[in-house]
């Protein structure tokens, strides 16, 4: 499932982006999102998207899969885009592009930062109780995905999904979910018991909220620049719109450079692209 894949990318990678502090990445992602949301120009949205792809490439994230995941909100944007269709394709197209662009920024964030580290970085802005719930939810997702997939396999093996009939699929899914639901309660009771036994007093993770480091400056700086130019184009659009192709061209250049410069040159060879690891691992 997507969440498992993305989690693997986040944990397995060792690129610059992976090693950047979560707080810096959150800031950069927020700036990137702002850039996408603020503009109405297809070129400018595409600029952000291309830069994301470039960063993903250098971080070793499988680009094709990342784009696929980012396209998912685009499908829903289609509904809204159709509502906006009044004869030309550009505006609906921009709507869809914005959805995909925004998603790509967020997915890049989560593909290079494991969820728990993000939660730790969010500690200053979220109540502690909520952060604890997020941690347990995260762990439980993986436990439950195992339970659910086992149950689905069992249903499938017993012919629960035979035939194309939707009714059959739903029945099978319902049984699997029932099993998962029941196991959930048992798991939560035992988890609580274990937490109590081990002395739980309110803080599952020892990770510090983390701050910014000097090496994060290029990342946040670049994101700020992108956001800055987006705001500039938005408010000075009368003058600047004819030149909106320029940021897009620059982004394409960045992408070309990113793809051409060999990755092993970075970080003294310690960096091992995630896509390479995925090819190597039996999946």
């Amino acid at each position: 499932m997507d969440i498992a894949t993305v989690d693997y990318w986040a944990n397995a990678g060792g690129s610059y982006l992976h090693r950047a502090s979560p707080t810096a990445k959150l800031m950069a992602a927020a700036l990137g999102l702002a850039a996408v949301i603020v503009v109405f120009n297809l070129f400018l949205v595409a600029t952000v998207f291309v830069l994301v792809v470039a960063l993903a490439w250098r971080a070793g994230i499988p680009v094709r899969k990342l784009i696929l995941i980012s396209l998912y909100p685009g499908v829903f944007a289609l509904l809204f885009a159709m509502a906006q269709f009044h004869g030309d394709f550009i505006i609906p197209g921009t709507t869809i592009a914005k959805a995909v662009g925004a998603a790509s920024v967020v997915v890049l964030l989560i593909a290079t930062t494991p969820y728990p580290r993000l939660f730790a970085a969010l500690r200053p802005v979220l109540p502690g109780f909520i952060v604890e719930v997020l941690y347990v939810t995260y762990r439980s997702v993986f436990i439950l995905l195992g339970v659910l997939s086992d149950a689905l396999i069992a249903v499938r093996l017993r012919g629960g999904f035979t035939g194309r009939a939707l009714g059959r699929r739903l029945q099978g899914a319902a049984v699997a979910l029932a099993v998962a639901t029941l196991r959930s309660f048992e798991i939560s009771e035992r988890t609580y018991a274990v937490m109590q036994m081990r002395g739980y007093s309110g803080r599952i993770s020892g990770e510090a909220s983390g701050g910014l480091h000097l090496r994060d400056v290029p990342l946040v700086g670049a994101a700020a620049a992108v956001a800055g130019q987006a705001f500039l184009f938005r408010y000075e659009w009368r003058a600047l719109n004819p030149f909106s192709w320029a940021p897009f061209a620059a982004a394409l250049l960045v992408l070309a450079v990113a793809m051409l410069v060999p990755r092993a040159a970075v970080a003294g060879g310690r960096e091992r692209p995630v896509s390479e690891m995925l090819r190597g691992d039996a999946q």
Binding site: N11, R190, T191, Q196, M197, R198, S201, R203
Partner: protein
């Protein structure tokens, strides 16, 4: 070690407390009268003799099924290594859940380190380490280091102390290289080692492990076993485990309890004593260890009394003595129980 034991069920053949004869289940009434609930509950920690006691506990599950941990008394002395054997569904896990206070008995009393665990586990939890059967549910924290350091952090220990205890636990189990890993990407055996490290980190007096060797390869199993035995010997830690692997029992337990279906405690004694009762074991779907069966068979065939060996080493010694002279400098089978190389 008496070998002539009355096996008739229903007769009051309960041993006195402390007597080291193996025993078979007496009538329920006899047991219940001898250990009044009040006395058990009131036993303070000043009575340093027992780490854990269960007095005919009955538990009724929500779906109606019942487990009755009755029959022989379950009493674990401090510094003992106790193993609980029984078929699936016999109530082993129920027993463990009662020991740690997850389950509350409908009838009967439980005492662990002098308190009733269902109500007061928090008073003694710093001194008890627990690993339940399903390790996935016990690995709560994002990384291995976070999980092993969980207890020290929760108890508010200073950072330096947390670091020291955690590093010590990681090194002891030999998983220092896993410290930054994420739990759901570990193998089953690695997860179990992490859970055990998490249980040992606070240097507990009592360690309760439900199926501690599940998922471990033979080498890892021996490592963990040796570590546990060393902790018992050096620090007087009490160990309560359950296992399916009967062959390990002689090496890992001084005292063995056997449960039958429904939770009845039908046998209690040293491994040698318990494994001599083949029929009772069979009724509980337990096969005695290979070595026990071999030596019992030899005893029957030759008429020479050959007591059950505690380890492969001991078995080889005895057989070598019987067969004839040992070749000087010959390599010994198995591993020395106490002198195995430290884990790191």
């Amino acid at each position: 070690m008496s070998e002539s034991v009355d096996e008739h069920k229903g007769e009051a053949v309960g041993p006195a407390v402390g007597e080291r004869n193996s025993a078979v289940e007496p009538s329920a009434a006899a047991v219940q009268d001898s250990f009044p609930k009040a006395a058990l509950a009131a036993s303070s920690d000043g009575d340093g003799r027992f780490a854990a006691r269960i007095n005919c506990v009955r538990h009724r599950y929500e779906d109606g099924s019942k487990v009755e941990l009755c029959g022989l008394e379950f009493a674990v002395e401090r510094g003992q290594r106790v193993a609980v054997l029984g078929p699936n569904g016999s109530g082993k896990t129920t027993l463990f859940f009662h020991l740690v206070g997850i389950l509350r008995p409908s009838e009967g009393a439980v005492s662990v380190l002098g308190v009733d665990p269902a109500h007061d586990f928090a008073k003694v939890r710093q001194r008890i380490g627990v690993v339940l059967q399903n390790v996935d549910e016990q690995l709560l924290a994002p990384t291995v280091w976070d999980d092993v350091s969980f207890s020290p952090r929760q108890y508010g220990l200073p950072r330096g102390e947390v670091k020291r205890l955690t590093e010590q636990a990681l090194e002891r189990i030999g998983i220092g290289h896993l410290r930054d890993k994420v739990p759901h990407y570990l193998s089953g055996g690695e997860k179990r080692k992490v859970a055990i490290a998490g249980a040992l980190v606070m240097e507990p007096e009592l360690l309760i492990l439900d199926e501690p060797f599940e998922g471990l390869d033979p080498h890892a199993r021996q490592q963990v076993l040796d570590l546990l035995n060393r902790l018992v010997a050096e620090r007087g830690m009490t160990l309560i485990t359950s296992t399916h692997d009967v062959n390990l029992v002689p090496e890992m337990a001084d005292d063995v309890y056997v449960l039958a279906q429904g939770g009845h405690i039908v046998l209690h004694g040293t491994p040698a004593e318990v494994f001599a009762h083949a029929e009772v074991l069979q009724a509980s779907n337990i096969e005695p260890p290979v070595l026990a069966r071999l030596f019992e068979d030899l005893t029957r065939r030759t008429g020479v009394h050959l007591p059950m060996p505690a380890s492969l080493e001991e078995a080889a010694d005895r057989l070598a003595q019987i067969i004839g002279t040992e070749r000087p400098g010959a390599q010994r089978a198995g591993q020395d129980q106490w002198g195995s190389p430290p884990l790191r």
